[in-house]
Symmetry: C2
């Protein structure tokens, strides 16, 4: 373990802060599959409210992990997508999941899965 973990504003803490929020990892997961509209994300992240989803999307956008594109069509239409930075995070998240499988155990065998 190197010195990099010891700074007053620690890079690990700073990075974790990017996806710190009850639902952010799940939102990133949903978007990693496919760009999605607001309502599609809402349905795929179980039990999140519109308000909190809006907040977390805004934060993810501010941190540069996702993009928001508004299409002025007939009905309002907003598409969210991972940015390149957001995509670069995915392998890291997979490493984290891999650590859990290896050292803690399988990710809760037989639990409910989210729809794609």
């Amino acid at each position: 373990m190197e010195n990099e973990l010891g700074h007053a504003d620690c890079p690990v803490t700073a990075t974790i802060a990017l996806f710190d929020g009850r639902w952010k990892v799940m939102i990133l997961y949903v978007l990693s599959k496919k760009s999605r509209r607001f309502g599609e994300i809402l349905v795929r992240v179980p039990s999140i409210s519109k308000k909190v989803l809006t907040e977390q999307l805004r934060e993810l956008e501010a941190d540069g992990l996702i993009s928001r594109k508004q299409y002025r069509e007939t009905s309002p239409r907003v598409e969210y997508a991972l940015t390149d930075l957001g995509k670069s995070l995915c392998p890291l998240l997979i490493d984290i999941a891999a650590w859990k499988r290896k050292y803690i155990g399988s990710p809760n065998q037989g639990e409910t899965k989210l729809p794609d």
Copy 2:
């Protein structure tokens, strides 16, 4: 990005929860250098209070990342150390720091560093 991020109780979220807490990463960092007594950690984690340090140590212990050994010597003496599980986490934290350096930038050049 694989399915593993999509479970209702997501392994990534579960893993992050292990070191989610204002000071946990820093505590792990301190202990990664050397086993330490309560008071030694207190001094090395800037501005943490006894209460919060106690809480976070208890949680880290409950999660199996650190061990607590009480020596009934003359004055009370308690040693905290990383467990094997705790040690296994260090490379992961380093990966997270490395991601930040690569995609966000250097870990705040010239900032104050913690004493060892």
